[in-house]
Subunit: 345 residues, 4 copies
């Protein structure tokens, strides 16, 4: 059994990690940290967990974690994560970090979009945890930077086109819509039920922090600098991201041939499902699961290919992908504890 | 491996059975019947299932089912179920019936609330599949009548009080609220998104067909005739039933002593979770899971005990309980394929 | 033109008062107070208001209000309201108070459910603003205590039965469900979208503060002490209350004769709509409007009458009823600015 | 009083027309036609209307309509509309048509995206009813083709940029999201609550029928042929369209200067509200109202301007704009019966 600690267990990503890991046959959860709920039983904080776990939250302490855990999932806000991760590594723990702190290769880019970085020396070591693109490096990693939710959807949607050099340089528009759990569990007016329900809006237009992360991955895959227009929106659903991606094609192709190309690119990938022609993704088909559903349409009228990706932002966009990375890192079957289907409806 | 067929696989109960059974280590799904989608791949009807099952729907045929299956789950409308179940049994199959056709002991009562019964002789044999109350009989059953969703919540909420003879005879009021999946997948105006969303209403007031089923179980447990006021309401959520039950107490007790009594009654029951004092059920803590959450408050001002039960109407209220019954019938661990927690949020 | 100030303009009740009053032909809104948003334009706080009002929020000051207003609507939390209302009255202003502070006749009851009362001498003067029951007194009032949302629904649902002495003394059960705007605009974890959406729960069971207010009105109408079981629930909709009321009848009557009795009781009342037999209320038929929809079913099996009331908690349950009271107090047509229908869907 | 008939009164657009027109001081509703509900009182079909109208639905008959009405709003499906409109005009009635049948100037384009046109001779006469662009022609029109919901949002979002020739020819991407009422009131599986709620998907990708309508208006405004990528999505809300529009700018401008340009373009337009810098539209600020909210951000990184428009698809996108057109046609104040604000929340 691998002993696992979760730092930041009482946010939406934390509770989702617990849900997935209690069903993991090789994992024992040994520590749950929480600033706000320290001392409280996790099953009283989240009654959904009752019957499967009986563990009290503790304050975050590197010493305590290293005493009981082999691996730590850090589900902390950015900046808080990098305050503790160097020490966790120092203590001999492996870390799967769900924050943004180690995702960007370039400290300067990080500092431009976030704030000063206090352990830039780890950026070179950290492996970007998108298994479908970087599986081999993940297997060797001590520190895995689990991708952001929007970037996961964008990268999986665009990788086959970019890898095959089919896209006009400056043509990319990524219009994404996320469920409200993506805004976290902080008590903010803007996240109140009555403010979100029956509403819909864009936010962070032309300035969202996931933009450089998206561009970093797309550029790596394309082998050249890619710039994208990325616009996130707030959906009145709990979970789910749908990204509608517009790519100008260097030369027109049919929907059918593009689908072939996608199926080939993702052959053998359990978690990427490419829909048949005419079947487009819906976030309710992936809710609660680790799947990424892809669909596309070529539009000869405009010379664009429209690719649509759906994931659950808390699973493939966060906790599920973290467990997938953990499995790879641990040498386990990558799909362990992750095969469950979405409950529809 | 036990070979399983699902008759009526393309309703909401059908797809939920598939979701649960693809994760069942002792089950092979061998047949899915559907009138409307015969000939189509189930994963194109429900893209949520893609990657885990690859099976086409077939028309319902007793002959075909008996050729490939050991057990059949019938997820058909009432009346349609009893048209086929006698023949399924005749062919040597075991049946878990999710319709209402074999739930009522008394054919006269059935006929008063539904329509003429065409196989009343099976009513004596059929076992009412509420494991927490009738586990032994279920283990021996050839035909299991899987309980209705509302009756499951009402029976689990009231059983401890009634078994201990604490309730005033004519005092029971059961005010239930169900998610919209309970209305089924039929294309009716009243089930349209815009009619249900941001709405809330009662329906079937003083006349809902689950009333005699509730009264049958409560009377059996109480050992005397119980009559209840039962009012269902339509909730703008996909899944979940919350039943708020009002019982006049013969003599007042404290919340704490009543909770003790409930914990004792349900000791050892994996799927019934009795909340601590002050913790009351919420449907979002059971969504997608087979748990029934119970909470209660004693009210000395009015002499009533208010008991609240929450289940997922498609799981503990239908498909999950059916699998639980199947496990018992098959001699398997009752919790097989049913231990997953709700995804919160 | 009557000059109107709104104290507490940036809660959900405040913004609803503004919405209704900008369409009022006899009203000029001259002051909007807000602690949190003082100095900000109200149309930037609530962009829904843009184009119809251009006014900055100010800190609450009795002096300022009395300089510019004839009437003040106080949409403040309980306790905050009674800190300012005596001074407002002293300054010669009329007050429609939407808080709970002056609703209960008996200071001792208030103090039992809330906290010490600092101006109990005003309780005798304050008029409970339920126009369908107390219209004459409202017309003369200087201080109107606008009813709570749940109590409005319960009183209108039960008044005809109680006035006609048809109800068994201890039989009343009122099971109410409210949209989330009833929880206010405070940034609390429990009001977050992801906590409420797809959820449903009871709260304040056997202890909600609206209980004594309900009992006060029902007792007055009945002419004897009425005790009720009242259970509120949180609905995942923005607006709307549906109260399902169970009353044991002294002697059984038909649905049809009870409906006649209700229609007679509410004859001439513009805002109370009694449905035909078979038509039951739905909150989406009253959303945004000042109507209270009533429906009922007599149940000879149990000897109960089930009465269902639907209102918009922010309109007939708060701001709309406040404007109705204001109209009466000002000698205007009671329906002024209140005739609009719900937008369905 | 102008006598008004509504053909197709029992769809979502029909009931919204009724809601708006019962508050119109110059209108008397004299006829409501409905195939499905002929003979039934409209207030029993839509209990939301009770108390304000008492009228039975009748079958559609040109003779009957011309006997009682001066103007007819046709809220019929496309193709059904053109079966009756020539006769309505022949009878001397004025028509505001909410279908797609007379929106496209070019019969060949209509036939390519819809089906054969049976009265192409009327296309030259029909006036496209977007008042902010074509007010003068509307005032003279006998037949007004009320714009589609998506095209209204796209045209108002893009007109200032195109009129000022700021946009790169082939750069337009319009990513739109619509509430479910846009799918109509037909009982289709895809519109069921459980299929839509907690879901989100694109549909009609690269093939939606509103594409040629959008391109027609944008081309007229631009004075050259404009081609757009248009992708509609289905939002789990009742009402509202948000269109996120991406335009490559011929030369970069600041957000502030672009906002000035928009404010100038829409100066004096009551129903178009241009947000201050940093304030972006949300569908919940326009719900139930006839406003179109606009916001924008210039993105120097990509050379694009992102313009966002929010309308209520049933009001400014259908019934409200129809009443606005009717007001203009009738020589009334354009805002009559249309000034109400959105109820937030």
């Amino acid at each position: 059994m691998i002993r696992v600690g979760i730092a930041g267990a009482t946010g939406y990503t934390g509770v989702e990690l617990i849900r997935l890991l209690v069903d993991h046959p090789e994992v024992e959860i040994t520590a749950l940290t929480s600033q706000q709920y320290a001392g409280q039983k996790i099953q009283n904080v989240f009654p959904s967990l009752a019957g499967r776990i009986d563990l009290a939250c503790t304050p975050l302490s590197v010493e305590s974690l290293s005493a009981v855990a082999d691996v730590v999932f850090t589900a902390l806000p950015h900046q808080s994560a990098m305050e503790v991760i160097p020490d966790l590594l120092q203590s001999g723990l492996k870390v799967v970090d769900l924050s943004a702190d180690y995702r960007l290769r370039d400290a300067a880019v990080y500092e431009q979009w976030y704030q000063p970085h206090t352990s830039p020396e780890l950026l070179a070591e950290a492996v970007y945890g998108l298994p479908e693109l970087y599986r081999e490096a993940i297997a060797e990693a001590r520190l895995i930077a689990n991708p952001g939710c929007y970037p996961t959807s964008a990268a999986l949607a665009m990788a086959p086109l970019l890898k095959n050099d089919l896209v006009d340089q400056a043509s990319l528009v990524i219009d994404s819509k996320s469920g409200t759990s993506g805004a976290g569990r902080g008590a903010k007016t803007g996240s109140l039920f009555c403010e979100v329900n029956e509403g819909f809006k864009a936010y962070g237009v032309a300035g969202h922090r996931h933009t450089p992360e998206i561009e970093q991955t797309l550029s790596q895959v394309a082998g050249r600098e890619m710039t994208v227009s990325f616009t996130p929106h707030l959906l009145p659903v709990n979970r789910g991201i749908l990204s509608t991606c517009y790519a100008g094609l260097k030369q027109m192709m049919t929907t059918s041939s593009l689908l072939d190309l996608y199926r080939e690119f993702y052959a053998g990938e359990f978690f990427v499902r490419v829909g048949d022609e005419g079947i487009l993704p819906n976030v309710n088909n992936v809710r609660g699961s680790n799947f990424c559903d892809l669909g596309l349409v070529a539009d000869p009228r405009t010379g664009r290919c429209i690719v649509i990706a759906a994931i659950d932002n808390l699973v493939k966009g966060a906790a599920g992908q973290a467990v997938q990375n953990f499995n790879i890192q641990a040498g386990l079957d990558e799909t362990t504890a992750l095969k469950s289907l979405a409950g529809f409806p």
